[in-house]
C-alpha cells in the first residue's frame, strides 16, 4: 500500500515538477537483509533503520533530493534497478568486476574484512583460510565470502533467507563455520557468547552504490556526494555510531586520524533488543501487538492481491472452459494449449516473465498489477478445469430437454447447466483460492511486502522465527477461513434441491 502510494506520488511529482533534481531519490534494498544494513527496528518494527538507511538520507541531502526506500529481494535488486523500479541500489552491493556489465558502480563507500565465525567448543573448527578445506561453511549466495570459501575448497552452503538463519545453523551444529562480512559477523555472530570469530586472513570486500547502466549523470552526482560525505567526516561518524568503522574503510578513505571513536550506540541498542529473546508471554503481550499494524498491512496486501487475482482467474477460467466446450476448433485448441502451458510451468517463472521479461517488449507493469496478472493467468488454467468438470457433470439429457423446449444454447447454459455445474465446481474452487492466498507470497519477488515477506523481515531483524511464524500462520488461517465458510454456504445454496424432505 505504502509502495503504491509512493509510486503514485512519484508519478505526480514527475508530472508537476520539471526540475529533475527535486524528484525523490528512490533507493532499493532488501529489508530482510538484516542488521546493520537495512532492517526493521526490533524495538519499533514499523520503522526501517540501518546504516545504509542513514547513508541514503545523507546522500539525498547532499544531492538535494529526498531519499525514498523501495524494497525487493536481495538477489533481484540489480534486475529491479535495470527495470527502473529504483534509481540506485544501496544494500551491501559488493565491488566485483563482472557487475560492471549490468550496472554502473559508484566509488566504494565502505570496506570490510571477511570474518569467520565458529563455535568456541568445536575443537576441530577451522580457524584459517587453509583450514576451510572440506568444512561446512555457511554464507550468502553470490557474495565475495562465498567465492572465497569455494576457492578454499570448503563445502559451501548458501542461505536465501537471512543472516540470522546462517548463525542459527552454526549454533545447531549444521555448519562448521560462517564466513561473512564483518558488520554481519558483528551484529549476529558476536551476540552469541558460545561463538568466536577470526577477523583476519580471509580477504576483504568493498561496497558500492549501483546505478542503472549508462546513467552516467546520476553516477557522477552520486560519486560527488559520496566524496563530500567522506571528506566532511559524516561517513566515519556514521560507521562509528554503528560500530562498524574498520581499518579497511580507514585505508579506503586515507583516514589516518587517531581521534577516539564515537560510541557504537546503535550496536548496543541492537544487542539490548535482540541479544536475549523475551519470554513468549512477554512477546505475546507487548511485542507482537506492536507489530500488528505491519502484519495487518501485509495481510491486506495479500488479500488484495489474492482477491484480484482470483477474480481474474474466475473470469478467464469461465471463458476458457466455455471456449473449450463450445468454441470452434481453433478456439478449443487455443484453450487446451493455454491450460497446458499455465498448468505445466512454474508460477515463479511466469511471474518473472511478466515482471522482468515483458518490459523487453515494451510492457512495463506496476508491481501490484504484475503480481495479479501472473497469479490470475496461472490460476485461470486451474479454474477452467474446475468449470469443465462442473459442466461435464450435468447429464446430456438436461441439454436435450432444454433444446426440445426451444431454449437456445446460451439460455440452456445460463439457466440449466451453469446452476447445476456451480455446485460441483465450488469445492475445488475454494481449494484453489486458499492455495492462491498462500502462493501470493511469491509477489514479494516484485517488491511487494505482503504477509510472508513481512514475517521474513521481522523474524530476521528480531531473531524470532518460531513465535512470529505462529503469528503469520494464524494470519493466513484467519484470511482463509471466512472464504471456506462462504464457499460452504454457497454450496448448500446451490445444492438445496438435493435436501430431501417436505417442501
Amino acid at each position: 500500500m505504502k509502495k503504491s502510494r509512493t509510486l503514485l506520488l512519484a508519478v505526480l511529482l514527475a508530472g508537476t515538477l520539471s526540475a529533475a533534481a527535486e524528484a525523490p531519490l528512490t533507493w532499493g534494498a532488501d529489508a530482510q537483509g538484516g542488521a546493520p544494513y537495512v532492517f526493521q527496528d526490533p524495538m519499533e518494527p514499523n520503522r526501517v533503520i540501518g546504516f545504509e538507511v542513514e547513508l541514503a538520507t545523507l546522500l539525498g541531502q547532499r544531492m538535494g533530493r529526498q531519499a525514498r526506500p523501495a524494497f525487493g529481494p536481495w538477489d533481484k535488486l540489480l534486475e529491479l534497478l535495470g527495470r527502473g523500479d529504483f534509481d540506485v541500489v544501496i544494500n551491501g552491493i559488493e565491488v566485483a568486476g563482472e557487475k560492471g556489465r549490468v550496472v554502473e558502480l559508484s566509488h566504494p563507500y565502505f570496506a570490510t574484512a571477511e570474518v569467520l565465525t565458529v563455535r568456541k567448543a568445536d575443537a576441530s573448527a577451522p580457524r584459517t583460510l587453509v583450514g576451510l578445506w572440506g568444512k561446512r561453511v555457511g554464507t550468502l549466495p553470490n557474495s565475495m565470502a562465498a567465492r572465497i570459501a569455494e576457492h578454499a575448497g570448503a563445502d559451501v552452503r548458501t542461505y536465501e533467507g537471512g543472516q540470522d538463519e546462517i548463525y542459527d545453523d552454526l549454533k545447531l551444529g549444521r555448519l562448521d563455520g560462517v564466513l561473512l562480512d564483518e558488520p554481519v559477523a558483528h551484529y549476529y555472530g558476536d551476540l552469541e557468547p558460545e561463538f568466536e570469530s577470526v577477523r583476519s586472513g580471509f580477504g576483504t570486500v568493498q561496497y558500492a552504490i549501483a546505478v542503472r547502466k549508462g546513467d552516467h549523470d546520476l553516477l557522477r552526482e552520486v560519486n560527488a556526494a559520496l566524496e563530500g560525505l567522506q571528506h566532511d567526516g559524516s561517513l566515519r561518524a556514521l560507521y562509528e555510531r554503528w560500530g562498524i568503522w574498520s581499518k579497511e574503510t580507514a585505508k579506503l578513505f586515507h583516514d589516518t586520524s587517531l581521534a577516539a571513536p564515537l560510541a557504537d550506540v546503535e550496536f548496543d541498542r541492537w544487542r539490548a533488543a535482540v541479544g536475549k529473546l523475551p519470554s513468549f508471554y512477554e512477546r505475546l503481550t507487548t511485542r507482537y501487538p506492536a507489530m500488528l499494524p505491519m502484519f495487518l498491512e501485509g495481510a491486506l496486501l495479500t488479500l488484495l492481491v489474492s482477491v484480484s487475482a482470483m477474480s481474474l482467474a474466475v473470469a478467464l477460467g469461465i471463458g476458457l472452459a466455455l471456449g473449450r466446450r463450445f468454441g470452434p476448433r481453433a478456439l478449443k485448441w487455443f484453450c487446451v494449449a493455454y491450460i497446458e502451458f499455465f498448468r505445466g510451468t512454474p508460477l515463479l517463472v511466469q511471474l518473472t516473465i511478466v515482471y522482468f521479461g515483458l518490459p523487453e517488449l515494451g510492457l512495463k507493469l506496476h508491481p501490484f498489477l504484475a503480481g495479479v496478472v501472473a497469479l490470475g493467468l496461472n490460476y485461470a488454467a486451474a479454474e477452467a478445469e474446475n468449470y469443465r468438470a462442473g459442466l461435464e457433470s450435468v447429464p446430456v439429457g438436461q441439454q436435450e430437454a432444454s433444446a426440445v423446449l426451444g431454449l437456445s444454447t446460451w439460455q440452456t447454459l445460463r439457466h440449466v447447466v451453469a446452476p447445476q455445474a456451480v455446485r460441483i465446481s465450488i469445492p475445488p474452487m475454494t481449494n484453489d483460492f486458499i492455495a492462491l492466498l498462500k502462493d501470493s507470497s511469491l509477489v514479494s519477488v516484485v517488491t511487494l511486502t505482503e504477509l510472508t515477506k513481512t514475517y521474513g523481515n521481522l523474524a530476521n531483524s528480531t531473531r524470532d522465527h518460531l513465535g512470529l511464524g505462529l503469528v503469520v500462520a494464524s494470519f493466513y488461517l484467519l484470511l482463509g477461513l471466512p472464504f471456506a465458510r462462504l464457499a460452504r454456504a454457497a454450496e448448500l445454496h446451490f445444492g438445496r434441491h438435493l435436501r430431501r424432505g417436505p417442501a
Partner: protein, 255 residues
C-alpha cells in the same frame, strides 16, 4: 393430419441394417396414438429424429401440412431454423423425465415460456399452475424434483411440455421408469390431456398401455407394419409378423 412422417431413413454407424427403413405414418389431429414395437424397432430413434435431436438421411416430416424439416438439400442454417420451427409445435416427455433438478415443479414449467415465448412471469406461472393442478400436483408446486415420486415427476414433465402449448406431444416409454402399478395412473393422465384436444403420441413396448389408446401403429425393423384401432390390431392382426410379435410379447406374461 397433424403429424405426417414420410419415408424416414436413418442408419447408425457400424450397423449395416437401417434403424429407420423408410418409416411412414400419419396421425389425425387430437388423437391419442401408441407406436408399439419391441426393443430395437427404431422407436426412440424415430422420436429423436422428429425432435431434431438426431439427423436423418431421407424422408420428411409435416406438421399441420407444413414441411418443417427437409434433409439433403437444406443448408445448416435452414436445418437449424426448421428444427426450431418443429420444436415450437412439438413437445417431448423423456423416458427419464429430465426435469431440471435445481428448479421447483412450478419453476420447471415456467422457465421455457418465459425465456422462449417471452411471457411475463405472472402469465407463465398462471398457466403452469393451472396445468400442474389439472394433473393433480397442486400441493407439490414448490417441491424440487428429488422430493417427488416417480409418477409426480412424470406429471411435472408433462406439464412442462404442455406449458409450451405444443400441437403434438410425444412420450418416450412413459411407463418404463415407473412402478407397474402406476400404469393406470399414466393412462388416466393421457386421457385427461386427450380431452383438451392435443395430439398425443406414445412410444412404448407396453402392450397393456397400448390397449387403452385410440390408435395403434406396430413398428418392427424400422418400419410400421400394421396400424389401426387397438381392438382390431391387437386382437386380430392381419400380418403374420404382427402376430409373431404379439405372441412373443405375451409369452413372458404367460410364464
Amino acid at each position: 393430419m397433424t403429424l405426417v412422417v414420410k419415408e424416414l431413413v436413418r442408419h447408425h454407424e457400424g450397423n449395416p441394417q437401417p434403424t429407420l427403413a423408410g418409416m411412414s405414418f400419419d396421425l389425425p389431429a387430437g388423437t391419442l396414438t401408441a407406436l408399439l414395437g419391441p426393443s430395437g424397432a427404431g422407436k426412440s430413434t424415430m422420436l429423436r429424429c422428429i425432435m431434431g435431436l438426431e439427423p436423418f438421411e431421407t424422408g420428411r416430416i409435416d406438421i399441420d401440412g407444413v414441411i418443417v424439416r427437409g434433409t439433403r438439400e437444406s443448408s445448416r442454417e435452414e436445418r437449424k431454423r426448421a428444427i426450431a420451427d418443429a420444436r415450437k409445435k412439438l413437445g417431448l416427455v423423456f423416458q427419464s423425465f429430465e426435469l431440471f433438478p435445481h428448479l421447483t415443479a412450478l419453476e420447471n414449467c415456467v422457465l421455457a415460456p418465459m425465456r422462449v415465448k417471452l411471457e411475463t412471469r405472472a402469465a407463465a406461472e398462471k398457466r403452469a399452475r393451472a396445468l400442474l393442478c389439472q394433473l393433480g400436483l397442486e400441493p407439490r408446486l414448490d417441491a424440487f424434483p428429488e422430493q417427488l415420486s416417480g409418477g409426480q415427476q412424470q406429471r411435472v414433465a408433462i406439464a412442462r411440455a404442455l406449458a409450451m402449448e405444443p400441437r403434438v406431444l410425444l412420450y418416450d416409454e412413459p411407463t418404463s421408469a415407473l412402478d407397474p402399478s402406476m400404469k393406470n395412473e399414466v393412462l388416466q393422465s393421457l386421457k385427461r390431456i386427450d380431452a383438451s384436444g392435443v395430439t398425443q403420441v406414445v412410444v412404448t413396448h407396453d402392450l397393456q398401455l397400448a390397449r387403452g389408446v385410440e390408435h395403434v401403429c406396430i413398428l418392427d425393423h424400422g418400419v410400421v407394419i400394421e396400424s389401426g384401432s387397438p381392438e382390431v390390431v391387437l386382437k386380430t392382426p392381419v400380418h403374420e409378423s404382427t402376430r409373431a410379435l404379439l405372441n412373443a410379447w405375451l409369452q413372458p406374461d404367460a410364464a
